[in-house]
Structures are given as C-alpha cells and as structure tokens.
C-alpha cells in the first residue's frame, strides 16, 4: 500500500513537477539564529488562510442584499450548525490578522529588516497592512446591522472632506446619494473580491521577495548594512551556518500558527462573534455607532482633534503616516540595524504604540459622547430635602446636564465632574456659565426661566463637602448676581 502510494506520488510529481517547483523554496537556507521573533509573518498568513476558509464558508449562506443581509446574518448565527462558531472564527481571525500584521511590522522595523536589499519587502508589507485594515472595516460593514449602516455614512462623510473630489468619493461609497440597495453590494465586492485578490497578489510578491533576498539575520550592534558588501557577507554567512527553512525554521512557524488557530477557535467558541444587534434602519435614531476594536483608536482621533484643523488632519494624517512608512526604507536603507543603535526608530515605535494605545483606551471610554442612559438622580444622591435643591436636581436631569456631567459617578463624562462643584464655583460663576455656556457647553440662557436657574444653582451649590454655610439662602444670592445674556447667540425660543 505504502509502495503504491509512493509510486502514484512519484508518477504525479513527475508530470506536475511540484517538488521541483517548491522543493528549493522549502529548503532555502535561513540564518540559524532566526528563531521565535520570526514567526509573526507566517502567523499573519495563517490568520489570512483562516479568513479565506471561514469567509468562503459564510458566503454559502450570506446574501449581500441591503434588505436581506441582516436576516441572513441572523440565520447564519442562530439557524445553522457551526454558523455562530464560523462567524466567531472569522471575527477573531480578523483580530488575529490585524494583531499579527502589527507585531510583524514592529519586529521587522526594530530588527532593521527593511534595510537594503529588503526595501520592497517592507513596502509591500505596508500595503498589505493597509489592505488588512480595509478588510477589517468592510468586514464590519457586512454585518449590516445598525452600526454598519451608520459606519457607512461616517465613512462617506470623511471621504467627502477630501478636497475637490470628496463629493464623488462619498457618492461612490454609497453607490448613489443615500444609503440603500446599492451600498452593500459595493462593500461586498470590495471585501470578497477586490481586496482578497489584491492581498493574494501582494502576499505572492511579498513571499517571492523573502525568497529572493533571504530571511534577514538577527542584527548585531556594530555591523551596519552597506549596499556594496551586504549581499556577499549575508550569503557567505548563510553558506557557513545557514539551515534549511524546512524543517529547521518552519517548525516554529507551524507551532506558533497552530497556537494561533487554537486561540482563535477557543475565543470563537466561548466568546462568540459580535451579537447581531439591530437592523440597519437609518430612521431609527436610538443609535450609538462604534467601530470594531481595531479602529476604535481612529474613532477617538475623530473626536479629539481640534475641529478647526480636523479636515486637514483627517486627510493629511493618513497621507503623512503612509508616506513615512513608505519612505522609511528609502530614507534609511543602510547603516546600523540593531535597535540599540537606532534610538529614533525605537522612539517612533514607542510613540506609535503609546499613541494608538492611549487613543484606543479613550475610544473605548469615549468620554466625549453624552451618556444617553443617564437616569434621574436618586434621593440618596441628591441628599437634600430643600425644595430648590430637589427641583434643581430634577432640572439637572431634564435639561440634559446629566448627559454630560457626573454627579457621584452618575451621568456623562463629556464635561467636568460636578460632584463637588459647590466647593469650586461661586453662584455668580455658575450662573454665568449656565447662561452663556462655554467651551463645549451649550448656552442655556434662552431656555431657562430665572426660577429654574435659581433651582439649578441651588442644587449645584449643594454639591460640596460638608453642609452649606448658614445664612446664604438660595434666593438672596441668586438675585444679587446679574444674569448675563448669552453672547454671540441669537435666541429663537
């Protein structure tokens, strides 16, 4: 039996020439000390293969119709065996791919692997990272739930800011001028045909370049790359100490890749995919759109950049960052490779990771968003039976102050925490602030009756450590403060 199999394989291989084609690639020499730091690239490929396999499976049941996609997602999740699991695999596979691309990039950057002669390895890798992020975004949209619908609109609005052609780009995003029947098909095509095709193409190129230039050896401080000598030194070193990729190097890739697949499967099984939430109905306004975690940092960017330069940042920052990544190997393709001799590079990595990390944390908290879940303050929180204070607490809720301000941990985080505001601000300060508004606070001067202002201020003055000093009655002090009219804003109510 074994002999028969061997003979059959021998016959087939003689006709197809598979081992002649792949054999030399598998046995190509790699540096003996290229060990565990080198697994992230193949891990990215593993995650991509998981994505292709689970994606094809999901496409058996998914219908890319604006009116039906959401229902088919429900069907896949609840009405099919393994549907929920496969969605989970596809979701965590995407997360794994983003993480592995990031890890691979940081590793090759810190190892100086982008330097001569591997500049194009890096550049094709940067493009593959961009494609991966596009896949992440379009994939989130194919869930075609409420968040997806609003995300398309947010994407179109951002593209709309591009000078000159912004309006066209927005129309191409919608497939028209509104979210609708034409929109989903476009994102489906991008996610399922265009981007995967490009990724296949560039993975092929990327791998070809790995074979052409060889796996970079771990850098040694004091051994700079020079165009004139590098290749010769590298090849001599390989001849002396190199080991064949298969199996001496590959086994680590296989072990790490297997661990990755297991982690993806375990997460898919026990955490499951994002829930199928609300349908993509743009007339339902109770929405709170958030991108998936890998773009949450960008969500934070959009909230935190000063509005005045926002359009410029939205368009220029990706161009600058992309340009920097593209140019890195051209700006510094020679010299030291070891990170200990490249403080600027280490600085860039730390700065990049810290920036994305802190933006990510802020995005997850999103303190700039009003808290729509805020409930009226309880009697225990108000902690007073004085009628103006109680009335003020009620107004604090109904006038939407609580959506943006915290009182004892209840409410929103958009504005300052007002739990102890009575210690900080005088009545006059408070009145001026409420009437005129301020940085990021609406003016309430047109909307509040004088008595309501008194009640609100009474409530806010009672937010202090200890009791209110005796003899400072609410009415007297409120009257002594002139109520200023809101400046710069015409009233219409």
């Amino acid at each position: 039996m074994k002999r028969l199999l061997a003979r059959t394989w021998g016959w087939l291989d003689g006709r197809i020439g598979l081992s002649a084609l792949i054999g030399p690639s598998l046995r190509h020499l790699i540096p003996v000390d290229a060990r565990w730091w080198y697994v992230f690239g193949s891990a990215t490929l593993v995650a991509f293969i998981v994505q292709v396999a689970t994606g094809v499976a999901l496409a058996f049941a998914y219908v890319p119709s604006a009116g039906q996609a959401f229902d088919t997602l429900r069907f896949i999740t609840n009405g099919t065996p393994f549907g929920n699991f496969l969605r989970g695999m596809h979701y965590f596979g995407a997360s794994a791919m983003v993480l592995m691309v990031g890890a691979h990039m940081v590793q090759t950057f810190l190892f100086g692997a982008y330097k001569y002669p591997r500049e194009m390895n890096w550049t094709t890798g940067v493009l593959l990272m961009a494609f991966t992020l596009v896949m992440g975004f379009t994939g989130q949209l194919l869930r075609w739930d409420q968040t997806a619908a609003w995300s398309v609109i947010v994407a179109a609005e951002q593209l709309g800011r591009v000078p000159l052609i912004g309006g066209w780009l927005a129309q191409l995003t919608f497939g028209g001028t509104t979210l609708g029947g034409a929109t989903l098909s476009r994102f489906f095509v991008v996610h399922v045909f265009v981007m995967p095709g490009l990724i296949f193409l560039f993975i092929g190129l990327h791998l070809w370049l790995v074979l052409r230039h060889g796996v970079s050896e771990p850098p040694v401080p004091g051994q700079p790359v020079e165009e004139a000598t590098y290749t010769k030194i590298y090849e001599e070193k390989l001849k002396r100490t190199g080991v064949p990729f298969w199996p001496d190097g590959a086994w680590r890739d296989v072990v790490f890749g297997t661990a990755l697949v297991i982690v993806i499967a375990v997460l898919a099984r026990f955490l499951g995919p994002p829930p199928v939430d609300k349908p993509p109905d743009p007339s339902v306004l109770q929405a709170n759109p958030r991108p998936d975690w890998y773009l949450l940092w960008y969500f934070a960017v959009l909230a935190l950049i000063p509005p005045r330069i926002e359009g410029v940042v939205m368009i220029a920052a990706p161009v600058l960052i992309g340009g920097f990544l593209f140019l890195a190997p051209i700006l510094a393709n020679q010299g030291e490779r070891h990170w200990s001799r490249r403080p600027w590079s280490v600085g860039f990595v730390i700065l990049g990771l810290a920036t994305v990390g802190s933006l990510w944390l802020e995005g997850a908290r999103s303190p700039w968003s009003p808290n729509f879940e805020a409930k009226p303050l309880s009697a225990a929180t108000v902690a007073s039976k004085l009628p103006p204070v109680v009335a003020g607490a009620q107004l604090f809720y109904s006038k939407a102050c609580l959506n943006c301000h915290l009182i004892d941990g209840f409410g929103g985080r958009r504005g300052p925490d007002l739990t102890r505001v009575g210690d900080r601000l005088t009545r006059a300060d408070m009145i001026i602030r409420i009437m005129n508004g301020g940085t990021n606070m609406p003016a309430f001067g047109n909307d509040l009756l004088p008595a309501e202002v008194d009640d609100l201020v009474a409530f806010l003055q009672s937010r202090r450590i200890g009791a209110e000093p005796a003899g400072r009655s609410v009415e007297s002090s409120a009257r002594t403060t002139p109520i200023s009219l809101p400046g710069g804003r015409r009233g219409n109510n």
């Binding site: 039906q68 709309g160 609708g180 940085t439």
Partner: protein, 185 residues
C-alpha cells in the same frame, strides 16, 4: 525565413546588428511585439471601459428629490420637535429598511415647519433631540446643536442641514434628498 535587405527599421531603436539577416528579423519582432502589446491594450480597453463606467455610474445620476408625506398638519403640535420617517430619495426594490430616512420635524407656528437632517454635520451620526433641554445631541463625537440647528458645542463644522418642507392639502411633506455630505476641509 528569407533574408530581407536591411532597410529602415522605424521605431526599432536598437543598434544596427552586424548580420543583415538578424536585423530584418529584429524589425519583424519589434513589429510583432508592438502588435501584441497594442492588441492586449485594446482588449483591456474593450473590457475595462464598460466596467469602469458601470462602477462609477452613480456619479452621473442626477440626485433625485421627491416630496414625501410625513403626516397631517394636525399630527404636529406647535413648538414641538419630533422625528418623522419617510422613504429616502432613491429607494431600490431590494433596499429593505435601508430605504428609510428620518428627519427632525419642528412646527414653529401654524404654518411654519422646519425639517432638520438627522445627520450630524461632523461625520453623519444620528443626532437625538432632547425635548426638555431643547438640544440635539450626537452620540458619536459629542456634537451638540440648539433647537434652531446652530452648533452649540463639539466638533460639527456647520449647523444641521435642512430638508425642504411644505404643507400640501393638509399634509406635511418633506422633500427627501441625498444624505448631506459636508465637503471640503
């Protein structure tokens, strides 16, 4: 192949070879190369032009605008702002719920209606009306608007967009229009 006299080789570009026979063959090859590249380009154009036209077709469609009835005048109280739902301006048969659109309709007096787009002018998220506070709040990046649609706080670059509204035979109608896109930096 027969030997041909080495003549002018238009576009050949290559230095004249030492052997006349080879020169003639090169001329023929150059021609065949050009022919093949030209034919491939022609094929690409035959296939590609309609594809590009098809994909960018939405750019050449005039944005449709249609009056949609959102209720009777009696349904709306003076001084109130409520959300109204209508069919968007370009519904396709398979659009399902995505063909719906909404607006915040404000009745300011007996005859005066204003319809605000629900899309925040910052990045298009749906603003919510807080009836007591008389503010529109955006859930995404913290944009706030006054009841007249002017920006009160946050990143929005301009007031809320408006739809045209009319009263027609006792019906309130909103002119459904493209999703407003704030263009430019």
């Amino acid at each position: 192949m027969n030997a041909e006299p080495p003549g002018d080789c238009p576009g050949c570009g290559a230095p004249q070879p030492a052997v006349p026979d080879q020169g003639a063959r090169l001329g023929r090859r150059a021609f065949l190369e050009r022919l093949s590249v030209g034919l491939v380009a022609a094929c690409a154009a035959i296939v590609g032009v309609p594809i590009i036209g098809f994909v960018v077709a939405p750019l050449f469609k005039r944005p449709p605008e249609t009056w949609r009835t959102v209720g009777r005048t009696g349904d709306f109280e003076v001084g109130k702002t409520v959300s109204v739902t209508f069919e968007d301006s370009s519904p396709l048969p398979w659009a399902g719920v995505t063909a719906r659109a909404a607006a915040w309709l404000q009745r300011r007096s007996e005859a005066d209606f204003v319809a605000f787009s629900v899309n925040c002018t910052h990045l298009g998220c749906p603003v919510r009306w807080m009836p007591e506070a008389k503010l529109f709040l955006c859930p995404c990046h913290g944009g706030v608007y006054y009841a007249d649609g002017e920006v009160a706080a946050g990143p929005p670059p301009r007031p809320l967009f408006r739809y045209d509204v009319r009263v027609w035979n006792g019906l309130v109608q909103v002119k459904s229009a493209p999703i407003p896109i704030a263009t430019g930096l």
